[in-house]
Symmetry: C3
Subunit: 290 residues, 3 copies
C-alpha cells in the first residue's frame, strides 16, 4: 500500500475554504485535514502532526496548504510553520491566501506569453495590495520595468521599496494614480497594464485608457462588475479590442490560475521541503505552457 | 481518473452531524467537507467553492447537503444556497435537517403501500412541526384528504393554509386535538393516523385510539418511549394489532428512511441542478419499492 | 463494495490533533470525521451517528478515537461514550489522549523485553500523572513491584491506592522523590527506572542516578531537552551507558509507540465492541514483538 497523500489545510478564516478543498482533492490528495481559525499561536502543534508521524521517506506524502481571505495573516502563518520545522524534519508548504499567489502567477505567466518582460514597462494598478505586490515583484524579477500604482504615492513608493528587497537589477517604482492626469502619466510608455483592485471597483475609465498609446496588453483581475479596467470583460481571454490591445479578464486568466493551483498541490508531494510562495508558484506556472 | 465526488455537509449546529456523514460515505461520496455553524451569513463563500472550482461537466461531482437539528434554520440555508447559484453555475443540493425530509418521505411511502392515498382520509398528529407539515403536504399532493392536528386549532389551520399553497385540488384542513373529544372527532373517517410529535410524548392513549372505527394504518415516528401512539412499538414494521390495524414504529420505517437518504445522496451526483426537498425526496423514495 | 472504514476522531481540544489523524489514515481508515471541542455534554448525539447508521454486520466498520492534550477530559469522554451505547448497538472505542496509552504501553513493552517483570522492582518518576499512572498499573499487573514517585508522598500514596483498585496480588506503593536522599531511597533495589515527567524538566541528575547500584534499565519519556534522566538522550534506543545500563529515550520508544498506535486503530475495525484503554493497548503492543 502506498502512503496516502495527506494535506493539512490551514485556513485563517473561521470556515476553511471549500474552494481550496476541491482543488486539493482534484490534484490527487487522498485525505484533507481541514482546519479553520488557524493562527501563529495554535499552529505549532498542528505542524508537529506532520513532522512526527511518518518516517523520512514518507514525509513527502504529508504537506501543508495555507489559505484564507487575509493574505497578511497567511504570510504570518507561513513564517510560523516554516520556523517550526528543523533539519530534515519538515514537509512541503504552499501559501495561497485569497488565491493571491496563483492569481499573480497566472497574470504574469499570461503577460509573458504576449510580451517579452525583459523589454517591457508595466503599470500595476492597486499595486500595494497582496496580489498587486506579488504581480509587481514577479514582473520585476523577470526584468520588467515596473510601476506600482496607488492613489497614495507614499504607499506606492513604500511598497516598491519593500518588494524590491533582494531583487538585483530590478526597476520597481511607485507612482500616483490619483486622478486622470496621474493615470496618464503612470501609463506613459507602458506596454502592460494589470489591475489588481478590489471587487467591483473601476480603477480606470475607457476614455483615460484610450489615451495610453503604448498599451498592448490589459489584464483585469477583478471578476465582479463593474470592471477594474473599463471595457475589459471578466470572460476576455486574449480578445483584441478596437485598438488591437489584447484583453484578459479574471475568468480569462482563471483556467490557467486553476491549473497552476492544482500543479502546485501536486508538486507539494514531489519532495518534503518545498516552500511554495509567489516565485516558486510562478515557476510551476511557466512549466504548464506548451 | 474520474472526478472525485465531493459533498459539502453544511450543518447549522456547532458540530456537524456524524449521522449524515456516515450515510454520505455509504452512498459513495469520496470526500466529505464537513462544516458546522453554517448560517445564511457565512454560506455564500462556501457555495462559491462548489461553483467555481470545476468545469461544466464536472459540476455534477460536487454537491451540497444541508443538515442540523433546526429544520427552520436549514430551510433558510437552502434558500440562501440556491439564490447564490446563477445560470448553469450550480450544483445539486439536498435538505434533510433533523431527518425531516427522509422521515416524512418514508412515512408517506409506507402509507401509500397500504392505502390508496387518493381515496383516504389521514390525520397527522403534531402536524404543525417540520416533519408533520412535510407529511401532510406529501399526503395532500397525492390526493389524500388531510387533517393537520394540533392542540391549538389556530396553529393547525394556519399550517394547513401555508402548506396548501401551490397545491391544486388538495384538501388539507386544521383540526383541534386538545382533549379526547376533539381527538375522536379528528379521527372520524380517517384510515391513516401518523404521529409526528416530540420524542417521548404520548399524543393519544390506547382507549381513545380504540374508539376510531375506520383506522387501518398507524404510524408513530417517535422512537423514544413512551410511544406517541400508545400501543405502537418503535420496532413495529407492518405488525397487525388486535384490531387488525397495521402498525409501524420509528424504527420500523427507519430502514426505508435510510435507503431513501442514501438514494437521495446518490441522486445528487446524477446531475448538477437537483434541489432535493420533501417532494423530490418522496419521489426518489417511491422508486425504491419493488 | 466493502463498507468504508469510518473513524470518528473526538478531540477535547479546539483543533483536533493532526498527529492522531495521520496515524489513523496510515492504519487504513477510509474516512476520518474530525471533531474538536468535544465534551461529555455534546458527545452523545455524535455517538448516535455511529450507532444508528449501519446494520449489525457493518457496525465494525465505524469506530471512535478519543484524543486531545487533556487526559482527564479524555477519560471523562470515554466514560460518556461507552455509557451511550446499549446492548449490541455499539462500536469500538480507543482512548489515547496526549498519547498516554500508547506511550505507556510502549514503555512497559520495552521494559518487558529487557527485564522479567515478575521478578523486578521499578520506580516510576512523576508517577502520579496520567502516563505515570498507566505505566505503574501496567507494570503492577504484570507482577512488578512498583514504586510511584512524587515530590509529594501523599499524592504518591493516593495514586498508588487508586491504581491498585482491582489488581490482585499487586504491589504498588507511593514514595517521596523530594531531594537526593529521598531519590536514593526510592531507587534502592530497583532494576527499572521510568521517567514520566513534564517536557524539559530534569527529574534526576547523573550523580544521583549513579548511586543506584541495581538499575539495569532507564527509560526517559521526555523528548524535550534537558533530559528527565540526566545522561539519557531522546534518541537512545537500547544504548548501554558507561555502567552497562540499557537506555531508552522518548524517540527510542517512539517507533514502537507508533506501531502500537497504528495496530490499535486497525484493531478497532476487527469487532464492534472493543474498548481500547491502557491494558488492551498494552496487550496489542505485546503481539507486535517477534
Amino acid at each position: 500500500m502506498n502512503t496516502p497523500r495527506v494535506l493539512f489545510q490551514f485556513d485563517t478564516d473561521d470556515q476553511p475554504s471549500t474552494f481550496d478543498g476541491v482543488v486539493a482533492v482534484d490534484a490527487g490528495v487522498d485525505h484533507l485535514f481541514r482546519h479553520g481559525s488557524v493562527t501563529p499561536e495554535n499552529v505549532a502543534s498542528l505542524v508537529h502532526g506532520a513532522m512526527f508521524t511518518r518516517g523520512a521517506k514518507a514525509l513527502r506524502s504529508t504537506a501543508i496548504f495555507i489559505g484564507g481571505t487575509d493574505v497578511l495573516a497567511g504570510e504570518q502563518l507561513l513564517s510560523k510553520v516554516t520556523s517550526t520545522f528543523f533539519g530534515p524534519v519538515r514537509v512541503s508548504v504552499m501559501l495561497d491566501s485569497n488565491g493571491s499567489n496563483t492569481t499573480a502567477a497566472a497574470a504574469v505567466v499570461t503577460a509573458a506569453q504576449h510580451c517579452s518582460l525583459m523589454n517591457c514597462r508595466a503599470l500595476v494598478l492597486a499595486g500595494t495590495g497582496p496580489v498587486g505586490r506579488r504581480v509587481a515583484r514577479l514582473l520585476g524579477r523577470h526584468g520588467c520595468d515596473v510601476r506600482i500604482g496607488s492613489r497614495s504615492p507614499q504607499r506606492a513608493e513604500q511598497a516598491a521599496a519593500e518588494i524590491s528587497v533582494g531583487l538585483k537589477d530590478s526597476s520597481i517604482h511607485g507612482v500616483s494614480t490619483a486622478g486622470d492626469d496621474a493615470l496618464q502619466a503612470a501609463m506613459a510608455g507602458c506596454q502592460i497594464l494589470i489591475a489588481c483592485g478590489a471587487a467591483g471597483v473601476t480603477l480606470i475609465e475607457q476614455t483615460t485608457l484610450d489615451t495610453a498609446a503604448d498599451l498592448k496588453l490589459l489584464i483585469d483581475l477583478n471578476a465582479v462588475p463593474p470592471a477594474g479596467l473599463e471595457g475589459v470583460e471578466p470572460t476576455d481571454k486574449g480578445r483584441r479590442d478596437a485598438r488591437e490591445r489584447i484583453c484578459y479578464g479574471a475568468l480569462g486568466v482563471g483556467s490557467l490560475k486553476m491549473k497552476i493551483h492544482r500543479r502546485a498541490i501536486e508538486h507539494l508531494f514531489a519532495c518534503n521541503d518545498a516552500i511554495l510562495d509567489a516565485e516558486a508558484i510562478y515557476a510551476l506556472g511557466e512549466t504548464l505552457l506548451g
